[in-house]
Amino acid sequence: MGRKNILSLLILAGVILALPLGLGNSYYLNVLVFVGIYSLITIGLSLLMGYTGQISLGHAAFFGLGAYTSGVLSTKFGVSPWLALLAGIFVTGGIAFLIAAPALKLKGHYLAMATLAFGYIVFIVFNQASSLTGGPSGFGQIPRFRLGNFLLRSDVHYYYLVWTLVIVVLLVSLNIIHSRVGRALRSIHEGELTANIMGVNTAKYKIQVFVLSAVYASLAGSLYAHFITFLNPTPFGFHFSIVLVAMVAVGGMASVWGAMIGAALLTILPEYLRAFQDYDILIYGSILLLIMMFLPQGLFAGILRLIKKER
């Protein structure tokens, strides 16, 4: 990991620590909690899409699997939220592993379709397995996290919890990127067959990064479940999978920082646009369109390039 990344991490940590002092309003913190939760997913997606070049239109399902495993275990079976979170990671990781092996043999749009279909099937199961999931009505009263005797209840508590995990996940991801494995991932993106002939077990790494991104999404899902304390299937459908891909694309796929910027932008933007009422849908669509047209590498890369150019 380069010096630049360590510096960026330190700056991020500083900003994270300081922000609540400046904002002090639980609504803003609440928005930032969601930014953090979505960042966890988009960082994983950037590893999968930006670095390895494999598309997924079904990551909302992994987010949902984490949320539901965690929520159901802790609410209906009295499992501690932390254990439930771990269980979510194992369940989601296991399912991701099973789907990854056949799906990642597919390429391009066929992979996109397979992940979409998988996501949709999971969404249907959330709706139909009502004895566990409460069906379309969902279920509530999901317990919150505890640290010893301390109950995490306010937005500030979750803000620090979520963002601590974001930093950890960032650290983990940056370590992977700047390693032998990260190089292998990028070589798969550049030319899968060539990478294979040069000695990279491409199938293995594709599966690994897919499972890893699913695990990140599951972690995010568990945090979501124990934060919002109510689950129904709507946030885990096709629509959200697309939003996630849009976040990654808008921020800049080829960088975990870009993925975070995208998550932040597409989470905060609709909050700004609340003031515009119905028109928000048009403004949101236009901004998305313009960014992709004029900064196709994403905001992060676009801004970096501009800074360099101006110098």
Partner: protein, 297 residues
């Protein structure tokens, strides 16, 4: 109702649903084969077609036939304008960029339709009466026959167009190899424009003919796009006959699934089959493996 009657009815239902999906999938195919783009705004063309038709017939009170062609024409123009405004200016965009651009466009179309026509679900009177036709104890709506007829005509026209006209052949050439096509003097950018216009037109046609059965509102496009995309992939991207066949397969599977297994899981059943097909034959039922491998990300 005897089991036989039920089975026949499920089949009719499947054919009706399948024809709807097949029409949407045809639109996907045209843009995909000319450009390699998966246009996630395809469902919005369908929605626009349906809403436009309802607007022209119910509000402007134009005759059916005039409205039919006018709606298709207007949506075709919208498709072309979208290509000019958002796709044409791009320089060698990545596939994910294109996907997000079409998503953004679909948000805009949806928003536009919401402002233009409101949020209510609208319906359209069927082309030739509402009296169901009885066949051996099962029933089918005359509108379904219209859908099937227009779909057959569309596929036939597409085959003629791609097989026998110069423009059609040029579009196929672009699909096979863009660089080579431009080397022999085909204006690739024009072909892309054409493919968007054509696909919007077909989408609009689909929207118009399904509205009497499925109704329409501004929010309907996304799901139709997802189904259409599934069908196009199952049939093998780029294969028009494949799209029609796969449409019927998915439609019939959904209706049999709803009838005999569980209406809640019917979509899942169809999707599991889709996944299995993809895992066993990664280029779809009627797609060619080589073509799938050439069209990389």
């Amino acid at each position: 109702m005897s089991l036989g009657d039920q089975l026949l009815q499920y089949l009719f239902t499947g054919i009706t649903i399948g024809a709807i999906y097949g029409m949407v999938a045809l639109g996907f195919n045209i843009i995909y084969s000319a450009t390699g783009i998966i246009n996630l705004a395809q469902g919005e063309f369908v929605m626009l077609g349906g809403m436009m038709m309802v607007y022209l017939t119910a509000i402007i009170k134009l005759p059916m036939v005039v409205s039919f062609f006018l709606s298709i024409l207007i949506v075709t123009a919208i498709g072309a304008a979208f290509e000019r405004a958002a796709i044409h200016p791009l320089k060698s965009p990545s596939v994910i960029t294109l996907i997000i651009i079409t998503v953004a466009a679909s948000i805009l179309f949806k928003g536009g339709a919401m402002f233009a026509w409101g949020k209510h679900t609208v319906s359209l009177s069927p082309f030739s009466g509402e009296e169901p036709i009885s066949v051996l104890g099962a029933t089918i709506l005359p509108q379904t026959l219209w859908i099937l007829g227009i779909m057959a005509a569309t596929v036939a026209l597409l085959i003629l167009f791609f097989g026998f006209t110069l423009t059609g052949k040029a579009m196929r050439a672009c699909a096979a190899n863009r660089t080579a096509a431009s080397l022999v003097g085909i204006n690739v950018k024009t072909m892309v424009l054409l493919s968007f216009a054509l696909s919007a037109g077909i989408g609009a046609t689909a929207g118009i003919i399904i509205t009497p059965i499925a109704l329409m509102n501004y929010d309907r496009g996304t799901m139709l796009a997802v189904k259409g995309f599934s069908v196009a992939v199952l049939g093998g991207l780029g294969s028009n006959v494949g799209a029609v066949v796969a449409g019927f397969i998915i439609g019939i599977m959904e209706s049999l699934g709803a009838g005999f297994i569980s209406s809640g899981y019917k979509d899942a059943i169809a999707l599991v089959v889709l996944l299995l097909v993809l895992f066993l034959k990664p280029s779809g039922l009627l797609g060619s493996r080589e073509r799938a491998e050439f069209k990389k990300f």
